[in-house]
């Protein structure tokens, strides 16, 4: 079947949030701080208010409810409160009759700042003067398993750096808030998580949540960047203040300033292995720059730290990480949620180990591959399918592409075949699926069926990933429906959680499936009752109600005019805090091989092909699955070779698409995608999340291929042309060590106290005696 919204999107007829319109609506704009850190001495809005056409000018003093919001810590003011902590922080909002007047009014607001020193170095932030009453450490975590001082014959260590990636969704933030007759407000907005928005808007407006209605408007991509509230609350406050609909729509530059980026990070890793390549111990330390406000920084750091082991069995290790507050742009959720950073580091280390031991890169990965029944460094047992070997073997079976193809540098024609070297790199990763650490992962769906037409109502935000297709496919399959409507998500039904964490097919797909099964059973019971048949013999096949395999009547004609409806809920088994059991709902595994052509002298890269073998549970919709694989790979290669939000002294220097480069179709590699299908227990048809693993794996795979072509260490992504052409980057330190078997075995010991300063454990020496 085809995507229900596909044609409208391809034809340009799809209505995105930016297309929202209402009679008499006002336009809202935001005045933002030009300073990364400053005290607000005075705000004078009189001149702005006096302009004709201006209906409201709001500052922190005008927020009727709780000024603070946030996905985890509630440390972020709706409008700046005495201090601004990042360049671009909202200070005031204006509603006026048109955008031009609103912008003019925003410029007329007088703000006196006293600039303060900006803390922009995350490695210094933890010990620096607190930037906020909540302190500068969003979260520190540290734990050990087995004997971290165990050593094999070789030990490699290095420090890896990952740049800040922007979600770069194509439709900038937009929404329209409308006052409702009951004194509440209705917000149509492009978002990922309606109920989270509702809750945070309710805090600020002082309204009970039921008077804040959030409805999904057309979303043009999200990738995590819409998980946090941006203009949502501002639009609602302006609508309530003016009594009129207020539309807000960011420019591209504002979009870069306002939404959350992927955490840039520094990761130090030390791996020790025996002569056969078996990993004996892993030690790792992570610092993620969370920027000015918490967002999901406390959760992201746990992903990065716990998944430093990669999809490999690691019995001995110690792991530590900080996510910290700085005066840089705030970081939060982005596709992969802390794992691409870990994956880049651990896969770089696996290649360094393979090189030190003269082993094939796939062989060393096979020798260390996790198996079902193994225990993670953080104490969770892998009780579900764990097909690490299978994805590696599946990848190995994909033939290499022929020589030739598009040259590095593309349309610039600087390269010629003689100046190019080919490289091949591999990466294997593990991505946790769904919410973690005790956060309830659930969804609810209502399905109704009348005369063969099914209607699905669920709060799952369609952001492009294709939930609308999955929901329709399930309704057609289970109910034999001829036509299906998936209604626009809203907060009139229970929360579906965020469209993130590769979770919506599992959570909302399963809720829809359960609701469809309930509707089917009620329909069959009614048919059985009316016809005096045994309901146990009835089923739905190919759009017909059948009895013991014999078609009785089309579903569309089975109960004329009668509506059958059911609401069902789904929740994954609960997870626990780190160190107390199952931290994660499940995992997906992915292996990729990147083939690149590199013009070494100029540092230009052409990604020729990426072959992927991913553990997907079951193939729900082949086209959409391939879309996730291809999209994730292209976004991952973007992080590997070009995408970087460049922040200098707290200011984003490239907040637009001329200088923040994302891959074009000329840059996109050929993608060959094969799958391992080992059904996920507890899921209909054994399906599992697929959206994030391809990105996580593409980053290290492309980096490995460029290393293979150049022989350079390349410990940072994105790899810049000058890293290659000028050979910038420190290689891993390789030490031949005296083997030291673990003194103890098993067990995970958690510590929430900093063991040491962020950095490396250099003083302890790689020899580890």
């Amino acid at each position: 079947m085809r995507r229900p919204d596909g044609q409208a999107k391809v034809r340009g007829e799809f209505s995105y949030a930016g297309d929202l319109h209402a009679e008499g609506m006002l336009h809202g704009v935001t005045l933002r701080s030009p300073h990364p850190h400053a005290r607000l001495l005075r705000i004078d809005t009189a001149a702005a208010r006096a302009l004709p056409g201006v209906h409201a000018v709001l500052t922190a003093a005008d927020v009727p409810g709780d000024l603070h919001f946030g996905l985890t810590l509630r440390d972020e003011p709706v409008l700046a409160d005495g201090v601004v902590r990042y360049a671009g922080e909202p200070v005031a909002v204006v509603a006026a009759i048109d955008p031009r007047t609103a912008r003019r009014a925003a410029r007329a607001i007088v703000v006196e700042y006293e600039p303060l020193p900006a803390q922009t170095d995350p490695t210094l932030a933890a010990d620096a003067e607190p930037l906020h009453a909540e302190g500068n450490v969003y979260r520190h975590l540290a734990y050990e398993c087995g004997d971290p001082r165990a050593r094999g014959v070789v030990t490699v260590e290095n420090t890896y750096r990952i740049g800040m990636q922007d979600p770069a969704f194509l439709a900038p933030e937009a929404g329209m808030a409308t006052p409702t007759a009951d004194g509440g407000v209705r917000l149509e907005v492009a978002t990922q998580w309606l109920h989270s928005d509702q809750r945070q808007i309710a805090w600020a407006t002082g309204l009970p949540p039921e008077k804040v209605q959030v409805v999904l408007a057309g979303v043009g991509g999200a990738f995590g960047g819409r998980e946090d509230v941006t203009l949502h609350t501002h639009a609602c406050l302006l609508a309530l203040a003016t009594g009129r609909p207020v539309k807000m729509e960011y420019t591209r530059e504002e979009s870069f300033l306002a939404h959350r980026q992927r955490h840039p990070g520094t990761i130090w890793l030390r791996h020790s292995a025996d002569a056969s390549g078996r990993v004996v111990s892993v030690e790792g330390r992570v610092v993620l720059d969370g920027g000015a406000y918490a967002s999901t920084s406390p959760v992201v750091i746990a992903n990065t730290v716990t998944l430093l082991q990669g999809p490999y069995r690691v019995d001995n290790g110690r792991f530590e990480g900080w996510s910290v507050r700085t005066n840089n742009p705030s970081c939060g959720a982005m596709r992969g949620f802390g794992v691409p950073q870990a994956a880049f580091a651990h896969e770089s280390q696996m290649d360094a180990l393979a090189a030190a031991l003269d082993l094939d890169p796939l062989e060393i990965r096979l020798r260390n591959a996790l198996r079902r029944g193994d225990t993670a460094t953080f104490g969770q047992r892998f009780t579900q399918p764990t097909p690490v070997r299978e994805v590696i073997e599946g990848l190995r079976a994909v033939p290499l592409p022929p020589a030739g193809g598009k040259l590095p540098g593309g349309v610039g024609r600087a390269s010629s075949p003689g100046s190019v070297r080919r490289g091949v790199g591999y990466a294997v990763t593990m991505k946790n699926l769904a919410f973690s650490e005790g956060h309830v992962d659930e969804s609810t769906a209502t399905v109704s069926l009348r005369d063969g037409h099914a209607t699905v109502h669920c709060a799952c935000a369609e952001v492009g990933q294709g939930f609308v297709t999955v929901a329709e496919q399930v309704a057609r399959t289970v109910l034999g429906a001829d036509t299906v409507t998936v209604t626009q998500p809203d907060t009139l039904i229970a929360s579906a959680g965020s469209t993130s964490a590769s979770r919506q097919t599992m959570a909302s797909g399963t809720a829809v499936h359960r609701a469809c099964v309930a509707v089917r059973d009620r329909l069959l019971a009614r048919v059985a009752r009316e016809r005096g048949l045994d309901a146990g013999l009835l089923s739905i096949q190919d759009g017909a109600v059948t009895c013991d395999g014999t078609p009785l009547v089309d579903v569309a004609a089975a109960t004329p005019g009668h509506t059958v409806r059911a609401t069902e809920h789904f929740a994954h088994p609960p997870t626990t805090a780190l160190g107390q059991g199952d931290v994660y709902v499940g995992f997906a595994f992915s292996a990729q091989r990147a083939v690149v052509d590199v013009d070494v002298e100029l540092g230009l890269v052409s990604v020729v092909q990426i072959a992927s073998c991913q553990d997907v549970g079951t193939v729900v919709n082949p086209t959409q699955l391939l879309g996730q694989i291809e999209g994730g790979i292209v976004q991952g290669m973007g992080l590997a070779v070009m995408e970087e939000v460049v922040v200098v002294d707290g200011h984003i220097t490239n907040p637009e698409f001329q200088d923040y480069l994302i891959p074009t179709i000329v840059d996109a590699p050929e993608v060959v995608s094969v799958y391992v299908t080992d059904p996920q227990p507890g899921m209909p048809h054994g399906w599992k999340g697929v959206g994030e693993p391809p990105l996580c794996t593409a980053v290290p795979a492309v980096a490995a291929a460029v290393r293979d072509a150049t022989g350079l260490p390349l410990p940072s992504v994105p790899i810049r042309p000058e890293h290659i052409a000028l050979g910038i980057g420190t290689p891993p330190t390789v030490t031949r060590t005296t083997p030291r078997p673990p003194a103890t075995t098993g067990g995970t010991a958690l510590s929430e106290e900093p063991a040491d300063r962020p950095g490396t454990w250099e003083s302890e020496g790689a020899a580890g005696h």
Partner: protein
């Protein structure tokens, strides 16, 4: 609002355009609009008015005048992708996207005068001349030296760039540029070569504040062409001659290095074309 009549002139002849400009000395002259319009949208430029050259048919198209190719300043870049001069064609083909090439004009590229603009090294290597027209007549100046600083040219007040004149004498010419992406990117650096009768002329983009060439570089490039110098000599000469910017896209050191590589590769292509190289 942008098109409010008193501030917006839409002349149909060069004469009308000059009159419109005389009436609105502070107006921005806009042709394809691929620089002016984004600047306005991003509010990095204000304008007291506009003189649009879009309907001035005489500014569009190419013709021959003796041994010169005359390219109307309003000719879209898309019309040059198959130009006889390889450097011109390659620079045109690698500019922006098809949509941008359809609107962007060669004259706009010249008057924009930013050091990374695509066409400039090609015009400099080809030794283009510019036809400048004003109420008092027409003058022709060398493109070499026309740009005096980023975004600043010797175009006089009330003067319009009406044509770019390029020698048609046979030569080998080529153009290359590099960036951090494989299409639709601003040049980190670029370079063009013209090789005619055994003499090489090189020009560089984003190698300094203005499009840049140097006699010293050309002497070494010519020596490299006929085997009297090595690639390292040319790289050293280029490194001495250029003064590239340092910014968040690339370091000056990388740009200097890459310009030397591009120069060498272009001379090798000229060698191959001349049957001199491998």
């Amino acid at each position: 609002m942008l098109l409010a009549a008193p501030r917006f002139a839409l002349p149909e002849t060069v004469g009308e355009a000059l009159s419109a400009l005389a009436e609105r000395p502070d107006a921005v002259v806009v042709a394809g609009g691929t620089e002016v319009m984004p600047d306005l949208l991003w509010r990095v430029r204000t304008a007291a008015g506009f003189v649009s050259l879009r309907r001035v048919g005489a500014l569009r198209g190419t013709s021959r005048d003796g041994d010169e190719l005359v390219v109307g300043a309003g000719t879209p870049v898309a019309a040059l992708v198959d130009a006889e001069a390889g450097a011109l064609a390659a620079a045109a083909r690698s500019l922006g996207t098809p949509l941008v090439r359809t609107e962007a004009t060669i004259g706009g590229n010249v008057v924009s005068a930013l050091p990374y603009r695509n066409m400039l090294p090609a015009l400099l290597a080809l030794d283009a001349r510019l036809e400048l027209t004003s109420d008092t007549g027409r003058r022709t100046v060398a493109f070499d030296g026309f740009t005096t600083a980023p975004g600043v040219t010797r175009l006089g007040e009330g003067e319009l760039l009406t044509a770019v004149r390029l020698p048609t004498r046979p030569c080998f010419s080529d153009y290359v540029k590099i960036g951090r992406r494989n299409a639709q990117y601003v040049a980190t650096v670029s370079a063009a070569v013209v090789s005619r009768n055994g003499a090489v002329r090189l020009a560089f983009g984003n190698a300094g504040p203005v499009p840049l060439r140097s006699d010293a570089v050309d002497v070494v490039a010519t020596a490299l062409l006929d085997g009297r110098a090595g690639p390292d000599d040319l790289r050293a000469a280029v490194a001495d001659a250029v003064d590239p910017p340092e910014d968040t896209v690339a370091s000056a050191a990388y740009r200097r290095h890459a310009l030397g590589v591009l120069a060498t590769r272009l001379v090798v292509r000229a060698q191959v074309d001349a049957g001199l190289g491998s």
